[in-house]
């Protein structure tokens, strides 16, 4: 096993720099995000004081922005799974510098997603009831089971590849503040990193990479089943499970692009997160966009072709009615813009992918909203189409949730390295060996040719 060299490599120097020095901009961003989080917290406190009436929800639109956020953030959490797990399983070398960022997105998005369920509850102090009186027939219980397992799995999956880096921080950053050195020491649990320990770690990571894929698929499937198990128009559909999973991976990759690009710039990681990552990940985003478009077409054509009154009422509300601007904005953001930008190789660069990813994130939030709200405005017992306009409280809490998500992410990477140092080193070693092998083969071939 490669032992840690006593002198810092360029990789280490660059990756660990943000952990050592804090720039002025960091404090500005920190203050800005904290302010938005506080604003959201104040709105939430007010909601808990007065009741859910401070939202724009009504009868029959009982679910709105909070449930949208829940679906959206749980969806975002699929970033880590796909990128990290699938690329690890398939041994894609270019994954090495971005897996940590992807795994962190998963973990924090899950926290924010779970928080939304609590925010949406009419009696938040009874949050413990499902854990005491839980009835397994309710799809909510399926969610608690799957999301709980996913939360633990993604935490471990983030933690395992972090351990060798933590040991390195423990040994390298002896000048760090005491609490941080203590944190590194405790979290690296006495890692000594001999060959056998590395072998065991690799086995564990390999197991987790495989385990986490079906767990992640189950999570967004049961999230969709909250809707699919009811008989509401355009919810009660068999496509909903896979449709949610595809959308989740789609929005997850977009979020990875967004955070990867921001962090790359702020932490100066251009040397490691480069052309390859943007190109390949850009192709992946494009593929998911196509998948999403296909699922959307399948869903909407099947519904729209039929004459089932309840279903077509929702269909028309979305395509031509009051939700039409949102619907067509979603189609533009999720299909037109990604294709226009990412089809060409020049588009799959940091700037292009950033624009496409931002567009997809906005588009996917709208998509989640268009699944939740329009169906409820056209109840099957049709008396009057209902109107739902989110209130300022909902806007503030949503903004606060997004800010908290970014804040957790930022603080995490202020304390932990953004790039998995040992994995990139391993990649460098692999590359060096390959290079050497090529040279040897070349040398070997030369005399053979001459003779």
């Amino acid at each position: 096993m490669t032992s840690i060299p006593s002198r810092e490599s360029e990789l280490e120097r660059i990756v660990l720099a943000p952990l050592r020095r804090t720039s002025k901009q960091f404090y500005v961003v920190l203050a800005g995000l904290s302010l938005v989080v506080l604003l959201g917290a104040a709105a939430l406190a007010n909601q808990w004081r007065l009741g859910l009436g401070v939202t724009g929800l009504n009868r029959p639109v009982y679910w709105g922005v909070y449930i949208t956020n829940f679906v959206f953030f749980i969806g975002i959490s699929h970033a880590g799974t796909l990128i990290s797990a699938i690329l690890r399983v398939t041994q894609a070398e270019w994954r090495r510098p971005i897996t940590r960022i992807a795994e962190a997105i998963t973990f924090f998005a899950l926290i924010i997603g779970m928080l939304q369920v609590w925010i949406d509850m009419g009696r938040p102090e009874r949050i413990i009831f499902p854990f005491i009186f839980g009835r397994f027939q309710s799809p909510f219980l399926w969610d608690f089971t799957c999301v709980g397992v996913y939360f633990m799995s993604s935490m471990l999956y983030l933690y395992l590849p972090l351990v060798p880096d933590l040991a390195r921080l423990r040994d390298r950053m002896t000048d760090a503040p005491r609490w941080r050195h203590w944190l590194y020491t405790v979290m690296s649990f006495g890692w000594h990193g001999n060959a056998e320990q590395h072998r065991r770690l690799e086995i564990a990571i390999g197991i987790m990479a495989i385990v986490i894929i079906p767990v992640a698929v189950s999570v967004h499937t049961v999230v969709s089943w909250i809707f699919g198990m009811t008989m509401q128009p355009m919810w009660h559909s068999t496509i909903l499970g896979p449709y949610f999973v595809v959308g989740a991976i789609f929005s997850g990759i977009a979020m990875l692009f967004l955070f990867m690009t921001l962090l790359r710039r702020a932490w100066h990681l251009e040397l490691w997160i480069g052309e390859k990552q943007y190109n390949y990940l850009g192709i992946l985003l494009l593929v998911m966009s196509a998948f999403w478009g296909y699922f959307t077409l399948a869903e909407f054509l099947t519904t729209g072709y039929s004459t089932i009154t309840n279903e077509t009422a929702v269909f028309h509300a979305k395509l031509l009615g009051e939700y039409a601007p949102a619907f067509w904005a979603m189609v533009t953001a999720n299909l037109v813009i990604p294709f226009a930008v990412l089809m060409r190789r020049q588009g799959r660069k940091p700037l292009g992918t950033f624009i496409a990813a931002l567009s997809v994130i906005i588009g996917m939030w709208i998509e989640r909203f268009l699944i939740v709200a329009p169906s409820l405005t056209r109840p099957s017992l049709g008396f009057m189409p209902a109107v739902y306009t989110p209130s300022l409280t909902e806007v503030a809490i949503t903004a606060g949730s997004f800010a908290l998500f970014a804040l957790l992410f930022l603080l995490f990477f202020k304390v932990f390295p953004a790039i998995s140092v040992w994995e990139v080193e391993e990649g460098q070693a692999v590359e060096a060996v390959r290079q050497k092998a090529r040279e040897l083969a070349h040398e070997g071939a030369q005399p053979a040719l001459r003779s």
Binding site: L50, G51, L52, G53, G56, L57, N58, R59, P60, V61, Y62, W63, V117, D120, M121, G122, R123, R126, I127, F129, P130, F133, G134, R135, Q137, S138, P139, F140, L141, I226, M229, T230, M231, Q232, L376, P379, S380, L381, G382, F383, M384, A386, V387
Partner: protein, 228 residues
């Protein structure tokens, strides 16, 4: 076993909404006020709804009084994560307000929109407050829980207690919900659907009888008798 059910004769119903008012006084449903009502937050356990009459050639509207359907296969009960809502042995779907977590899964699962949510602390104008039903079983529900028509279970309990006090067996005709009692046009009937001799079971078998969204398969126990 008794299976409580209701029949509403739409030929007799004049859509006066006295059932709605009687229900409010009996069950202490809060007054939303104009602003909240405009947002669609009124709590009317027994609402008279305008529904498009798909069978009429001139696409007229029917006015349909709509209590809870008390489905025999209730979708709301299925989705409740904590069994705050449940179906009794006599087929009445009830809510345990001390258990409800306010997730509103049942409200979106109900195809009849019979379930209402307490968006704020319940409120009444002073004049109405003095007339709240003192029965503890219909004490105002706290904020953040779901409520709906119960077929006036408190009346059922009282009727049972009265029968017991008078030393006679309880009969299904001893009790009717407030809406049935108050109906000015005598358009509502209430009783035991499992008793083949009861008025409701005979009316429910009438060729005029239909149920709302029967195709959903939830087996509602509120029957309507077709207009005209």
């Amino acid at each position: 076993m008794t299976r409580w059910g209701m029949v509403i004769d739409l030929d007799k119903c004049v859509a006066c909404q006295s059932c709605t008012a009687a229900c409010r006084m009996e069950n202490n449903t809060p007054v939303a006020g104009k602003n909240q009502a405009d947002m669609g937050r009124t709590i009317l356990w027994n609402e008279v709804l305008p529904l498009a009459n798909s069978e009429s050639p001139d696409a007229s509207e029917m006015l349909i009084p709509r209590p809870c359907m008390h489905c025999d296969d209730p979708p709301c009960v299925k989705v409740c994560p904590v069994q705050a809502t449940y179906r009794t042995d006599e087929g009445v779907v009830l809510i345990n307000y001390d258990r409800c977590i306010g997730c509103r899964f049942c409200t979106v699962a109900c195809p009849f929109q019979v379930r209402y949510f307490n968006w704020f602390e319940p409120e009444w104008p002073e004049a109405l407050k003095a007339h709240l039903n003192p029965d503890p079983e219909v004490a105002p529900r706290p904020r953040g829980v779901v409520e709906k028509c119960t077929f006036c279970v408190q009346r059922l309990r009282k009727a049972r207690e009265t029968a017991q006090a008078e030393g006679r067996p309880f009969s299904a005709t001893d009790y009717v919900p407030a809406c049935v009692e108050t109906c000015t046009a005598h358009a509502r009937y209430f009783g035991d659907l499992d008793d083949p001799n009861s008025l409701v079971s005979q009316l429910a078998a009438s060729p005029r009888a239909f149920r709302l969204q029967e195709e959903m398969g939830t087996k509602p126990k509120v029957y309507y008798l077709k207009q005209g």
